[in-house]
């Protein structure tokens, strides 16, 4: 893909984000777009955010469940960038009607790193050794692509459909919890809507973080100490709207809740 087109697509997605508008799928207009092109578009989009004053505070991993991989016909996850203006605190109101377009909530485990991780060759043990703590998390994904009609390149270009996120009320050492079997319960407006367990994300959320470190390592980019890494949804996505209240609890880790306005 031509550099100018990459920049134009990145700018277009950034404008869509700013104005809460959707655009036609990029894959419909540029049918030969590669995954690498898509990541360059994503980078251009986030550069726009950084130029406007946002700070990169971590990464998110997406497309980690078998169901979503099957839907998008891919066999690997993807990633996007987290910026400081995406982060909300436990119990805080989240103004999705002002910030997002077509939001969906997913329950995840967030990793807070205490050491850099630079692939290739990062194993599960390296990830655990570099993790300060894990926290319960809601990620509210959103798509700047019309009606979520995404192919894998569309979602990668669109910063892995990242929207906003909430970290919960507790942080636990990864030494204290089995991240593969820990259970997750998601409630919406007081009703349990789904349950899951760590293994829903590539067998373990730890595998997801190792994948990201190794993937970024190919480009010489490390995961840095202090960064927050959202490791991928453990339950099916749930559409949300202003007025909804959701909570997620994770066995051995804690809970997070969010009120949408």
């Amino acid at each position: 893909m031509d550099k100018n087109i990459i920049e134009r697509c990145g700018d277009e997605l950034y404008n869509a984000l700013q104005h809460r508008e959707t655009i036609a799928p990029i894959t419909e207009r540029y049918t030969d777009i590669t995954l690498e092109d898509a990541y360059h578009i994503s980078l251009r989009m986030v550069e726009n955010r950084v130029n406007a004053g946002a700070k990169i505070i971590g990464k998110k991993i997406g497309v980690t469940s078998k169901a979503v991989q099957t839907m998008l016909n891919v066999h690997q996850p993807d990633f996007g960038y987290l910026t400081d203006d995406m982060a909300f605190s436990q119990g805080e109101e989240m103004p999705i009607s002002e910030r997002l377009i077509q939001p969906k909530a997913e329950g995840e485990i967030a990793f807070i790193l205490k050491k850099d991780l630079l692939g290739p060759g990062i194993t599960n043990a390296d990830v655990l050794a570099a993790t300060e703590c894990v926290m319960p998390c809601f990620e509210i994904v959103d798509s700047r692509i019309q009606d979520w009609k995404i192919k894998i390149q569309d979602t990668i270009a669109d910063n892995a459909s990242c929207g906003l996120f909430v970290l919960g009320d507790n942080a636990v050492s990864p030494r204290k919890v089995d991240l593969s079997t820990c259970g997750m319960v998601v409630e919406k407006n007081g009703q349990i809507i789904s349950t899951g367990a760590g293994a829903a994300a590539l067998g373990s959320p730890v595998n997801c973080v190792a994948w990201l470190a190794n993937t970024l390592g190919e480009f010489g980019i490390p995961l840095k100490a202090g960064e927050v890494i959202l490791s991928g949804s453990l339950v099916p996505l749930e559409s949300v709207q202003a007025g909804d209240f959701m909570s997620v609890s994770i066995g051995g880790i804690g809970s997070a809740s969010v009120r949408f306005t």
Binding site: C182, G183, M184, V185, T195, A197, G203, L234, S249
Partner: protein, 263 residues
């Protein structure tokens, strides 16, 4: 109130039990007896239980069925049911299950409660259950509806002992106060591949509420859950069909694993 005669109850019990013992499919019995009530359905199940006891089998526990939202949606019913466990249903952890003895078996990840005090409904709640629980252990249930293609209604499944056929219990026991039963996670793997995941709350919001419901349902017949009863709470995950040669492992948060093989 029942609408069937004692003779009809006995005939239907024999009909359903023969299908279990000889591993063949039958059509759902409400097709032929549309007037059947829930009481009739439980009468048939209790008659099957008596038939087994008369042949010298021991009843080793109880099970709840259709207790998860995933399961109720999968089967198109809106209410749980219970069944009994006979001695020959029990398979040791890591043991073999003979596929040919069954029709179209499926496996489900569950938990089992073992009681230390009797529970008698009505009015039994989660607090009563936790107080009366000696320990919790992991268990996998093999279900095998005798109905063709697993197509049934709630009355038919109750008469068929709620699809009970085999179970495997694990080797880890924990006091309920040591577990976060609502959030406890399970990962069901067949031949090393993750097939289903879930957490305890999938069973009626909390695993102990399933035991409370059993006590209350039995209370309607004047029965109780005696101390020392092994009770499987129902599936935390959707049921997974298994073939001859498949091996399975269910991993539990804080409760170890349960595994077995279909031969």
């Amino acid at each position: 109130m029942g609408n069937l005669t004692t003779e009809q109850i006995e005939q239907l019990a024999e009909h359903c039990e023969n299908a279990e013992l000889n591993a063949y499919e039958i059509t759902k019995i409400t097709d032929d007896f549309p007037q059947m009530t829930y009481e009739d359905a439980f009468d048939i199940q209790w008659q099957i239980r008596r038939r087994k006891e008369q042949r010298g089998h021991k009843i080793v526990g109880m099970k709840m069925g259709l207790t998860s939202w995933a399961k109720m949606a999968q089967m198109g019913v809106e209410q749980p049911c219970y069944g009994f466990l006979a001695d020959y249903f029990s398979v040791p952890d890591g043991g073999e299950i003979k596929h040919d003895e069954l029709i179209h078996p499926k496996i489900e990840a569950e938990l089992a409660f073992v009681t230390k005090a009797p529970l008698k409904g009505p009015g039994v709640h989660i607090g009563d259950v936790l107080r009366a629980t000696d320990f919790v252990m992991p268990a996998v249930e093999v279900i095998d509806s005798r109905y063709k293609d697993f197509k049934f209604d709630l009355k038919s499944v109750i008469a068929d002992n709620s699809s009970s056929t085999r179970f495997v219990s694990g080797g880890t026991m924990k006091d309920p106060s040591e577990l976060d039963l609502k959030n406890i996670g399970v990962v069901l793997e067949v031949n090393g591949e993750v097939k289903q995941v879930g957490a305890g709350a999938a069973v009626l919001g909390h695993p102990a509420s399933s035991v409370a419901m059993l006590a209350n349902m039995l209370g309607e017949r004047g029965e109780e859950i005696p101390a020392g009863t092994f009770i499987m709470i129902g599936a935390i995950t959707a049921a997974v069909a298994v073939n001859k040669g498949d091996s399975f492992t269910v991993r539990y948060q804080d409760l170890g694993t349960v595994s077995g093989k279909f031969v």
